[in-house]
Each structure stands twice: as structure tokens, then as C-alpha cells.
Symmetry: C2
Subunit: 318 residues, 2 copies
């Protein structure tokens, strides 16, 4: 009987490598692309910024909720956002890919295209990778970036008197996850549903923030309160947020109404949006897409409406 | 009842991160280490060499054969060897680590120490990483390196008249695997057994070969014949090997006798030793640890004793 689905096992290792490489254009930052022991990437600054993440099927994505293309976009995005969060410009990613022989080649093609297209948003390319057999789909992405002569923006530079600002969407990935989990679909929920499958990090806001003098920055991967808690701890300061300062978009309001949820919970605690949060010496001169949501004060933890959030969760009422 | 084994699940995510970081010294190439969105590594050459590999428990290592320390050494070694094979000096690795909550912390400590010690051999450090939960131990290692102003040595530069030379051990990993699989142990077999668990790439031979004018180079990860086949194909040449030129060490002879195997098969076809194979314009002036084993000729494939090996296996008799 003829099978209708061509699988990774049908192609074999070298066939898979050739197929992936054939779908990946190499931009100007790639001095030597896939096919040798290692790739070579430009690092004009003389320092290279590097971040790695491991995504496991069933834990970080589900093949029944997300297409290969969505997974590729998301896997690249979460690493490219880490580079941007240092104030750097991403140059490349390398990808380690474990997959079962039964994986359809069409899914692999979509995944590859997802990597390619997310990288293209920032002028980066897939420089190389490694494939191996695994019962689950496992994706290891490492991103490299260039600081263009600027100092990196770490988590430890926030000082009392600074303002806290965010660029990009918050709460969409969490709302999307909740909608997926509840089995809700429909036109009104598309943007939130897609928010889970495909984050939209505001990449250019990272180098921009560095140039604007950001004192601390990170990308929101685990939820704004938890992540800002890292800045508070690393900088030895407290952060006071104004819940009224957050924009709660129409898609979140619709999803919250459908599910009987509080959309501000998604905004403050939802992870995986990979937006950027930063502190600046002043709000004067910040572009409008850097929404000021709070202040840096002496003390510790992150306060919202009088409650203090510390690492590990809400600490206590004050 | 009190448990005697402390597990990764007992420590929790932040406990594990702190424990790993606490065991990892940061050398001079690391400008910003673990703890931020990304690490920052020196890249004085203005170009960075990068290679990534994914290791899956049960496929690339077995916890009953290899200690955590062995796995850490090997996972680092195979990536650092890729960097050396370009003629570059490794500067750092980043590690993505998936593990079950039941994993003993002692195993994680050993793994970390293995990464640390293998990196220390070349003056590199672990710059950062990512941990996540996974039913299997999954390790994604990405290594970075610096070319020190030299051109990278790729697979495509070999030309007729060049000689083929190898640096480092061949066949030990394959012999060790065969001994492990046969359940053979004992003092006489220790070196071969350890050859599987812990390769010894000749790291300094990589930059040395570049300085000596190597025209092509790679590390032997899949077996000498298969890997040299990549040089033959990429360079558009044939390689003729002299089987009598290979040193077959005493540990291989002992293992072969015990198992009734041909030790030259391990030398020519065994993978995972991560030694270096290169082509040079002449054998004159090569240090003794670069053992000349053959010649580059016009044609294709890799010939040994009149047989031609092409990618995918032995092609035919001539």
C-alpha cells in the first residue's frame, strides 16, 4: 500500500539535512553557513551576545495546537528576544533538532520556514544546526547578536527614580493558552489564540532602549511580575507598578469575558509574550511604544496596588 | 520516610540554576556570565565560529554506562572539537538541559563538573544555559570559538598532491562501545572502555593545523572513512589511505582479540573519537602527532586497499 505522507525517516539523515539547508537563505551576517563542522558569523563588535533555549514537545508546544510553522516562529522568537533584551541586534541562530522518524516532512518544512521567517524580521539567518533521532520533537535554539559598540543592558542597573516601561504586547500568550485549553475558537478570539502560538517580540525596541539609556532590561518570558522581580533583585531596588497604566487590548477583553477571567492577571502574570520591559532614567523622550507603567523606588520586590510580589509568588499583603 | 537521594525536583528551577552556576568559574573570555537574558563572550577576531549538537539519553549516552561527569565531558568535547576542526580556539559553550525531576542532584553536579573540566582544557567556560523539564535527559550544547585572525579551515580546500593526516586516537570509542555492549570489563580494557565514555580530542592540533597551512579539516565524529568522504565530496577529490600507516594501539588489539573483531575496522569506521583529520600541501614539517595516512588524488571517494568508500557506505570493489 502506498503511503501518502513522506516522513523524516523516508528522507534519512543526509536527505533531511539537504532539505533543511535548501530552504534557508544566508544573509550577510553569515560568513560560512551550514555544511561544515561549524558555521562562521560576523561579530563586528568584538563581543558576541549568546542565548540558548530548549523546547520540548508537550511541554513548550503541542503539535495539535501549533503548526510546524508556528513552532519555528516561536522557538526563534524567544531566543531572538533574549538578544534584543540585551540591547543587541540578532545576527544568527543555530538549531539542534531531535525528531522521530515518523515526523512528516511537511511539518519539518514548516518548522524550517518558521525559523527562516522569524529570523528575517531582524536580518538574521539560520547559520547551522544538528539533527538527531528522538521520540519527541526537541528543539534547541541558540541565538547570537551584536552590540554595535554599545554596552549590554543587564538586569542590575535600575536605580531609584527610574521609570519602568514596557514595549510590545502582554497577556496575549496566556489568554491564547487559556482559550486553547478551553477549546474556544472563532473569529473574535483569533488574535489571542495566535498570541499563544506566535509571539511578536518588539525586536527593534531592544537596541533602541539601549540607545535611549535604558538602565535595565529583559524580555517577558515568565510573566511581567516574575520577570520584573529579577530586575528588582539584581538591581537591589523595588518596582511600583500602576495597574491603570496598562493597555488591555480588545482581544484580551473578549477572551476574558468568554472565560470569566480577569484580563489584568494575564497582563501581569502571563508568560511567553517576549515583549520587553526596561527601566529608564526618565520618561521624557521615550517613544510612545514604550509605555510607562511604574517607578523604581528604594526597597525590594514588585508592588501593584499595595501588594508586593517577590520571587516565587505574591509574598504578602501590605 | 526520609529519602536518601536529593533530586532536581527537590531543588526546583531556581535552586538548580543557582547550584549549576555556583560550580562554574568564568574565565577571561566570558564578559558576562549566567544570570541575564544572554551571556556576552569576547570575539576579538570580529568573526565567531559556532557549532551546536543535541545529545539524547539512550541514543548518545546511557546513564548505566556513563557517569554524569563522563556525559558532561563528552558533550562538551564533541562541540569543542568542532570548533578546533575549523582551526579556531574555543571560547565558551552554552548548554540547554532537559531533565526529569527525579534526576539525582549528584548526577547534575557531575555533569556540570564535566562541562567545566572539559572546557578548562581549552581555556573556555560555560557562559550560560537553560534548564527545562523533560522525561529524558536531553543536552543541547553550543560552542563558540575565535579564529585569531586566521581563515577557517573548511572541508572544501583539499587538492590533488596534498597529504592526508590525522591527529589523536581513532577506534577507541568504537572499541569501548563494543566492550560495553558485550559486558566485558577488566583492567586490560579500561582505556578502550573509557574511550567510549570520554573522548580526548587533540584540541590544540586544530589551530596548529591552520597555522601549518591545512587545506581541509574536520573532526572524526561518524568514522574516518565517512568523514573523509565529506572532504572528498566538498573538495571534489579522491583520498587514498594506506591502512599500514595507522597506529593500532595496544588497547585496541586487546579488545579486538577479546571480541574476535578486526581493530582496523574500528580505526577506519568507528565514530565519536573526535580526533582531527586534515589535508596539508606537504608532509614536510608536520609534527609527529600529525600522522600521515594517505594522499589526495584526482577522482572521488575514499580508497583503502583498492576499495572505494563513498558517502553511504562501501560503494563497490574495483
Amino acid at each position: 500500500m502506498r503511503r501518502c505522507v513522506i516522513t523524516v525517516g523516508d528522507l534519512g539523515e543526509f536527505g533531511v539535512v539537504a532539505r533543511i539547508s535548501g530552504r534557508l537563505p544566508q544573509g550577510p551576517t553569515i560568513l560560512l553557513g551550514p555544511g561544515d563542522d561549524a558555521a562562521m558569523v560576523s561579530a563586528p563588535d568584538g563581543r558576541v551576545v549568546v542565548s540558548t533555549d530548549l523546547l520540548i514537545e508537550g511541554r513548550h508546544f503541542r503539535r495539535d495546537w501549533s503548526s510546524g510553522y508556528d513552532v519555528g516562529r516561536k522557538a526563534a522568537a524567544q531566543n531572538l528576544a533574549d538578544i534584543a533584551a540585551m540591547g543587541a541586534v540578532p545576527t544568527s541562530i543555530v538549531v539542534g533538532l531531535g525528531m522521530p522518524p515518523t515526523l512528516p516532512v511537511s511539518w519539518l518544512d514548516e518548522l524550517t520556514d518558521g525559523f527562516r521567517d522569524e529570523c528575517a524580521l531582524v536580518g538574521a539567518s539560520v547559520a547551522g544546526g544538528d539533527i538527531t533521532r528522538c521520540d519527541l520533537v526537541v528543539i534547541g535554539v541558540t541565538a547570537l547578536g551584536d552590540l554595535q559598540g554599545r554596552d549590554p543592558v543587564t538586569r542590575s542597573g535600575a536605580g531609584p527614580g527610574d521609570v519602568v516601561a514596557v514595549s510590545g504586547r502582554l497577556g496575549y500568550a496566556a489568554a491564547g493558552w487559556a482559550l486553547h485549553e478551553a477549546g474556544v475558537s472563532g473569529e473574535a478570539f483569533q488574535e489571542a489564540l495566535e498570541g499563544h502560538r506566535r509571539p511578536r517580540p518588539p525586536y527593534t525596541s531592544g537596541p533602541e532602549a539601549a540607545a535611549l539609556g535604558a538602565t535595565a532590561m529583559l524580555d517577558v518570558s515568565d510573566g511581567l511580575l516574575q520577570d520584573l522581580g529579577h530586575i528588582a533583585k539584581a538591581s537591589g531596588v523595588g518596582l511600583v507598578l500602576d495597574p491603570a497604566a496598562f493597555a488591555v487590548g480588545e482581544p484580551l477583553l473578549a477572551a476574558a469575558k468568554e472565560l470569566g477571567a480577569d484580563p489584568l492577571d494575564w497582563v501581569l502574570s502571563g508568560g511567553e509574550d517576549h515583549s520587553l520591559a526596561a527601566t529608564f532614567p526618565t520618561k521624557d523622550g521615550l517613544p510612545a511604544h514604550w509605555r510607562v507603567v511604574g517607578d523604581v523606588v528604594e526597597g525590594e520586590g514588585v508592588q501593584v496596588s499595595g501588594r508586593v510580589y517577590k520571587s516565587g509568588g505574591w509574598d504578602h499583603f501590605r
